[in-house]
Symmetry: C2
Subunit: 138 residues, 2 copies
Amino acid sequence: MDYEEIMKQNGLKRTKNRFRILKILDIGDIPLSAGSIYNCLKEEEIEVSLSTVYRTLEKLSEMNIIRKLTFNGDNSTFFESIKKGHRHYLICLKCRSITVLNKCPIKGYQEDIEKETSYIIEGHKLDMYGYCPKCKDK
Amino acid sequence: MDYEEIMKQNGLKRTKNRFRILKILDIGDIPLSAGSIYNCLKEEEIEVSLSTVYRTLEKLSEMNIIRKLTFNGDNSTFFESIKKGHRHYLICLKCRSITVLNKCPIKGYQEDIEKETSYIIEGHKLDMYGYCPKCKDK
DNA sequence: CTACATGCAAACCGTTTGCACCCTA
DNA sequence: TAGGGTGCAAACGGTTTGCATGTAG
Protein backbone atom coordinates (compact mmCIF):
# COMPACT_ATOMS: atom_id res chain seq x y z
CA MET A 1 0.00 0.00 0.00
CA ASP A 2 1.42 3.37 -0.97
CA TYR A 3 1.55 6.60 0.95
CA GLU A 4 -1.52 8.08 -0.73
CA GLU A 5 -3.62 5.12 0.27
CA ILE A 6 -2.45 5.19 3.87
CA MET A 7 -3.11 8.88 4.18
CA LYS A 8 -6.54 8.54 2.65
CA GLN A 9 -7.44 5.75 5.05
CA ASN A 10 -6.36 7.83 8.02
CA GLY A 11 -8.28 10.88 6.92
CA LEU A 12 -5.14 12.90 6.26
CA LYS A 13 -5.00 15.32 3.39
CA ARG A 14 -2.35 14.70 0.77
CA THR A 15 -0.56 18.00 0.82
CA LYS A 16 2.56 19.04 -1.02
CA ASN A 17 4.46 19.42 2.20
CA ARG A 18 3.77 15.88 3.28
CA PHE A 19 4.93 14.43 0.00
CA ARG A 20 8.03 16.58 0.00
CA ILE A 21 8.97 15.43 3.47
CA LEU A 22 8.29 11.82 2.58
CA LYS A 23 10.41 12.19 -0.53
CA ILE A 24 13.34 13.52 1.45
CA LEU A 25 13.06 10.61 3.84
CA ASP A 26 12.78 8.12 1.00
CA ILE A 27 15.77 9.44 -0.89
CA GLY A 28 18.18 9.86 2.01
CA ASP A 29 19.78 6.72 3.30
CA ILE A 30 20.43 7.81 6.86
CA PRO A 31 18.03 9.00 9.56
CA LEU A 32 17.41 12.76 9.57
CA SER A 33 16.42 15.21 12.29
CA ALA A 34 13.45 17.56 11.93
CA GLY A 35 15.91 20.41 11.61
CA SER A 36 17.87 18.86 8.77
CA ILE A 37 14.69 18.01 6.91
CA TYR A 38 13.67 21.63 7.32
CA ASN A 39 17.03 22.69 5.90
CA CYS A 40 16.68 20.33 2.94
CA LEU A 41 13.36 21.96 2.13
CA LYS A 42 14.90 25.40 2.41
CA GLU A 43 17.67 24.43 0.01
CA GLU A 44 15.00 23.37 -2.45
CA GLU A 45 13.57 26.87 -1.97
CA ILE A 46 10.44 25.43 -0.50
CA GLU A 47 8.76 27.43 2.22
CA VAL A 48 7.57 25.36 5.13
CA SER A 49 7.57 26.24 8.78
CA LEU A 50 9.46 24.14 11.27
CA SER A 51 6.26 23.41 13.15
CA THR A 52 4.71 21.95 10.03
CA VAL A 53 7.73 19.70 9.69
CA TYR A 54 7.30 18.54 13.27
CA ARG A 55 3.57 18.07 12.91
CA THR A 56 4.00 16.14 9.71
CA LEU A 57 6.66 13.89 11.19
CA GLU A 58 4.42 13.24 14.15
CA LYS A 59 1.49 12.28 11.95
CA LEU A 60 3.59 10.06 9.74
CA SER A 61 5.00 8.31 12.81
CA GLU A 62 1.53 7.68 14.16
CA MET A 63 0.57 6.17 10.83
CA ASN A 64 3.65 3.96 10.87
CA ILE A 65 4.97 5.40 7.63
CA ILE A 66 8.14 6.58 9.33
CA ARG A 67 9.86 5.79 12.62
CA LYS A 68 11.49 7.91 15.29
CA LEU A 69 14.99 7.18 16.54
CA THR A 70 17.19 8.62 19.28
CA PHE A 71 20.85 7.95 19.82
CA ASN A 72 23.03 8.22 22.90
CA GLY A 73 24.70 11.59 22.92
CA ASP A 74 22.36 13.38 20.52
CA ASN A 75 19.79 15.81 21.81
CA SER A 76 17.50 15.58 18.83
CA THR A 77 15.21 12.94 17.42
CA PHE A 78 15.85 11.33 14.04
CA PHE A 79 13.38 10.02 11.52
CA GLU A 80 13.51 7.51 8.71
CA SER A 81 11.09 5.85 6.34
CA ILE A 82 9.71 2.48 7.37
CA LYS A 83 10.59 1.39 3.85
CA LYS A 84 14.22 1.27 4.90
CA GLY A 85 13.39 -1.92 6.72
CA HIS A 86 14.98 -3.26 9.88
CA ARG A 87 18.48 -1.91 10.29
CA HIS A 88 21.12 -0.91 12.79
CA TYR A 89 23.43 2.07 13.04
CA LEU A 90 27.02 2.88 13.66
CA ILE A 91 27.52 6.31 15.20
CA CYS A 92 30.85 8.12 15.21
CA LEU A 93 31.48 9.44 18.70
CA LYS A 94 33.46 12.34 17.31
CA CYS A 95 31.75 13.64 14.15
CA ARG A 96 28.37 12.06 14.96
CA SER A 97 28.04 10.66 11.44
CA ILE A 98 25.67 7.75 11.04
CA THR A 99 26.44 4.61 9.04
CA VAL A 100 23.77 2.05 8.28
CA LEU A 101 24.34 -1.60 9.14
CA ASN A 102 22.15 -4.12 7.44
CA LYS A 103 23.31 -7.21 9.23
CA CYS A 104 21.19 -8.06 12.28
CA PRO A 105 22.71 -10.43 14.82
CA ILE A 106 19.71 -10.74 17.07
CA LYS A 107 17.46 -13.48 15.68
CA GLY A 108 16.56 -15.88 18.46
CA TYR A 109 17.37 -13.40 21.22
CA GLN A 110 14.04 -11.66 20.93
CA GLU A 111 12.10 -14.87 21.41
CA ASP A 112 14.29 -15.86 24.36
CA ILE A 113 13.60 -12.57 26.11
CA GLU A 114 9.91 -12.82 25.37
CA LYS A 115 9.72 -16.18 27.12
CA GLU A 116 11.88 -15.09 30.04
CA THR A 117 10.11 -11.84 30.80
CA SER A 118 6.53 -12.46 29.66
CA TYR A 119 6.70 -9.22 27.69
CA ILE A 120 5.31 -8.87 24.22
CA ILE A 121 8.37 -7.70 22.33
CA GLU A 122 7.60 -5.33 19.49
CA GLY A 123 11.13 -4.78 18.33
CA HIS A 124 14.66 -3.92 19.26
CA LYS A 125 17.20 -1.23 18.64
CA LEU A 126 20.89 -1.96 18.31
CA ASP A 127 23.41 0.82 17.78
CA MET A 128 27.16 0.59 17.66
CA TYR A 129 29.34 3.46 18.82
CA GLY A 130 32.92 4.11 17.80
CA TYR A 131 35.24 6.21 15.69
CA CYS A 132 34.93 6.41 11.92
CA PRO A 133 37.95 6.02 9.63
CA LYS A 134 38.28 9.80 9.26
CA CYS A 135 38.15 10.54 12.98
CA LYS A 136 40.01 7.60 14.44
CA ASP A 137 43.48 8.81 13.46
CA LYS A 138 43.15 12.33 14.81
CA MET B 1 39.89 1.56 42.19
CA ASP B 2 37.15 3.15 44.21
CA TYR B 3 35.29 6.39 43.70
CA GLU B 4 37.45 8.36 46.14
CA GLU B 5 40.61 7.43 44.30
CA ILE B 6 39.19 8.31 40.91
CA MET B 7 37.98 11.68 42.14
CA LYS B 8 41.29 12.42 43.77
CA GLN B 9 43.16 11.58 40.59
CA ASN B 10 40.94 13.88 38.56
CA GLY B 11 41.30 16.77 40.95
CA LEU B 12 37.66 16.60 41.99
CA LYS B 13 36.64 17.32 45.53
CA ARG B 14 34.86 14.57 47.41
CA THR B 15 31.69 16.33 48.44
CA LYS B 16 28.65 14.95 50.21
CA ASN B 17 26.49 15.60 47.20
CA ARG B 18 28.67 13.55 44.90
CA PHE B 19 28.69 10.57 47.22
CA ARG B 20 24.96 10.80 47.72
CA ILE B 21 24.33 10.77 44.00
CA LEU B 22 26.75 7.91 43.50
CA LYS B 23 25.04 5.99 46.26
CA ILE B 24 21.64 6.38 44.65
CA LEU B 25 23.04 5.16 41.36
CA ASP B 26 24.77 2.22 43.02
CA ILE B 27 21.73 1.10 44.95
CA GLY B 28 19.14 1.41 42.21
CA ASP B 29 19.11 -1.34 39.63
CA ILE B 30 17.67 0.59 36.72
CA PRO B 31 18.92 3.73 34.95
CA LEU B 32 17.65 6.98 36.48
CA SER B 33 17.07 10.44 35.04
CA ALA B 34 18.54 13.57 36.60
CA GLY B 35 15.06 14.51 37.71
CA SER B 36 14.39 11.24 39.50
CA ILE B 37 17.76 11.39 41.23
CA TYR B 38 16.85 14.89 42.35
CA ASN B 39 13.57 13.55 43.70
CA CYS B 40 15.32 10.71 45.54
CA LEU B 41 17.49 13.29 47.26
CA LYS B 42 14.47 15.35 48.17
CA GLU B 43 12.77 12.34 49.70
CA GLU B 44 15.84 11.81 51.83
CA GLU B 45 15.33 15.43 52.90
CA ILE B 46 18.65 16.38 51.35
CA GLU B 47 18.87 19.83 49.84
CA VAL B 48 20.58 19.90 46.49
CA SER B 49 19.78 21.99 43.47
CA LEU B 50 18.89 20.41 40.18
CA SER B 51 21.84 22.10 38.52
CA THR B 52 24.21 20.47 40.98
CA VAL B 53 22.71 17.13 40.10
CA TYR B 54 23.29 17.82 36.41
CA ARG B 55 26.81 19.10 36.96
CA THR B 56 27.68 16.13 39.11
CA LEU B 57 26.30 13.65 36.59
CA GLU B 58 28.28 15.38 33.87
CA LYS B 59 31.53 15.17 35.84
CA LEU B 60 30.97 11.56 36.77
CA SER B 61 30.28 10.71 33.12
CA GLU B 62 33.47 12.39 32.02
CA MET B 63 35.37 10.37 34.57
CA ASN B 64 33.74 7.17 33.38
CA ILE B 65 32.23 6.42 36.75
CA ILE B 66 28.73 6.47 35.32
CA ARG B 67 27.27 6.29 31.81
CA LYS B 68 24.55 8.22 30.00
CA LEU B 69 21.72 6.46 28.19
CA THR B 70 18.85 7.58 26.01
CA PHE B 71 15.92 5.51 24.85
CA ASN B 72 13.59 5.85 21.90
CA GLY B 73 10.51 7.72 23.01
CA ASP B 74 11.95 9.32 26.15
CA ASN B 75 12.85 12.96 26.19
CA SER B 76 15.28 12.74 29.06
CA THR B 77 18.70 11.22 29.59
CA PHE B 78 19.24 8.34 32.00
CA PHE B 79 22.29 7.52 34.06
CA GLU B 80 23.65 4.37 35.66
CA SER B 81 26.81 3.33 37.45
CA ILE B 82 29.53 1.75 35.35
CA LYS B 83 29.65 -0.89 38.08
CA LYS B 84 26.45 -2.34 36.68
CA GLY B 85 28.53 -3.74 33.85
CA HIS B 86 27.46 -4.31 30.27
CA ARG B 87 23.72 -4.76 30.04
CA HIS B 88 20.68 -4.30 27.86
CA TYR B 89 17.22 -2.97 28.54
CA LEU B 90 13.62 -3.82 27.88
CA ILE B 91 11.38 -0.77 27.75
CA CYS B 92 7.62 -0.94 28.08
CA LEU B 93 6.07 1.15 25.32
CA LYS B 94 3.09 1.93 27.52
CA CYS B 95 4.26 2.56 31.09
CA ARG B 96 7.90 3.25 30.11
CA SER B 97 9.21 0.94 32.82
CA ILE B 98 12.72 -0.37 32.31
CA THR B 99 13.77 -3.97 32.84
CA VAL B 100 17.41 -4.99 32.83
CA LEU B 101 18.58 -7.80 30.60
CA ASN B 102 21.89 -9.37 31.42
CA LYS B 103 22.21 -11.69 28.46
CA CYS B 104 24.15 -10.15 25.56
CA PRO B 105 23.68 -11.74 22.15
CA ILE B 106 26.22 -9.66 20.28
CA LYS B 107 29.64 -11.24 20.75
CA GLY B 108 31.28 -11.66 17.36
CA TYR B 109 29.10 -9.03 15.69
CA GLN B 110 31.18 -6.16 16.98
CA GLU B 111 34.38 -7.56 15.48
CA ASP B 112 32.64 -8.26 12.17
CA ILE B 113 31.47 -4.67 11.90
CA GLU B 114 34.88 -3.36 12.87
CA LYS B 115 36.46 -5.24 9.98
CA GLU B 116 33.76 -4.31 7.50
CA THR B 117 33.65 -0.61 8.25
CA SER B 118 37.18 0.21 9.42
CA TYR B 119 35.68 1.90 12.45
CA ILE B 120 37.09 1.49 15.91
CA ILE B 121 34.07 0.22 17.80
CA GLU B 122 33.89 1.35 21.40
CA GLY B 123 30.67 -0.36 22.31
CA HIS B 124 27.10 -1.02 21.44
CA LYS B 125 23.65 -0.38 22.78
CA LEU B 126 20.83 -2.85 22.42
CA ASP B 127 17.36 -2.11 23.71
CA MET B 128 14.22 -4.14 23.34
CA TYR B 129 10.81 -2.49 23.16
CA GLY B 130 7.49 -4.10 23.95
CA TYR B 131 4.67 -4.37 26.44
CA CYS B 132 5.22 -5.52 30.00
CA PRO B 133 3.00 -8.18 31.61
CA LYS B 134 0.95 -5.50 33.38
CA CYS B 135 0.33 -3.42 30.27
CA LYS B 136 -0.03 -6.04 27.59
CA ASP B 137 -3.52 -7.11 28.59
CA LYS B 138 -5.05 -3.67 28.73
C1' DC C 1 -18.26 24.65 2.62
C1' DT C 2 -16.01 22.08 6.24
C1' DA C 3 -12.35 19.94 8.40
C1' DC C 4 -7.87 19.44 8.29
C1' DA C 5 -3.21 21.89 7.34
C1' DT C 6 -0.21 25.71 8.02
C1' DG C 7 2.52 29.89 9.71
C1' DC C 8 3.70 32.57 13.42
C1' DA C 9 4.79 33.50 17.93
C1' DA C 10 4.64 32.01 22.40
C1' DA C 11 4.91 28.30 25.57
C1' DC C 12 7.28 24.08 27.17
C1' DC C 13 10.65 21.28 29.34
C1' DG C 14 14.89 19.12 30.01
C1' DT C 15 19.35 20.88 30.35
C1' DT C 16 23.14 24.37 30.67
C1' DT C 17 25.34 28.52 32.23
C1' DG C 18 26.73 33.11 34.66
C1' DC C 19 27.52 34.87 38.84
C1' DA C 20 28.00 35.43 43.66
C1' DC C 21 28.84 32.84 47.63
C1' DC C 22 30.46 28.48 50.03
C1' DC C 23 33.51 24.79 51.33
C1' DT C 24 37.05 21.18 50.67
C1' DA C 25 41.81 20.30 50.79
C1' DT D 1 43.21 30.77 51.21
C1' DA D 2 42.80 29.16 46.60
C1' DG D 3 40.22 26.74 43.40
C1' DG D 4 36.70 23.81 42.79
C1' DG D 5 31.49 23.21 44.26
C1' DT D 6 26.81 25.01 44.81
C1' DG D 7 22.32 27.62 44.58
C1' DC D 8 19.62 30.63 42.09
C1' DA D 9 17.78 32.56 38.21
C1' DA D 10 18.23 33.28 33.57
C1' DA D 11 19.38 31.41 29.14
C1' DC D 12 19.23 27.64 25.74
C1' DG D 13 17.62 24.48 22.14
C1' DG D 14 14.68 21.16 20.51
C1' DT D 15 9.85 20.47 20.38
C1' DT D 16 4.90 21.55 21.06
C1' DT D 17 0.83 24.37 21.03
C1' DG D 18 -2.88 28.22 20.48
C1' DC D 19 -4.85 30.87 17.28
C1' DA D 20 -6.02 32.93 13.02
C1' DT D 21 -5.72 31.97 8.18
C1' DG D 22 -5.24 28.89 4.12
C1' DT D 23 -6.48 24.94 1.32
C1' DA D 24 -7.74 20.06 -0.02
C1' DG D 25 -11.71 17.30 -0.97
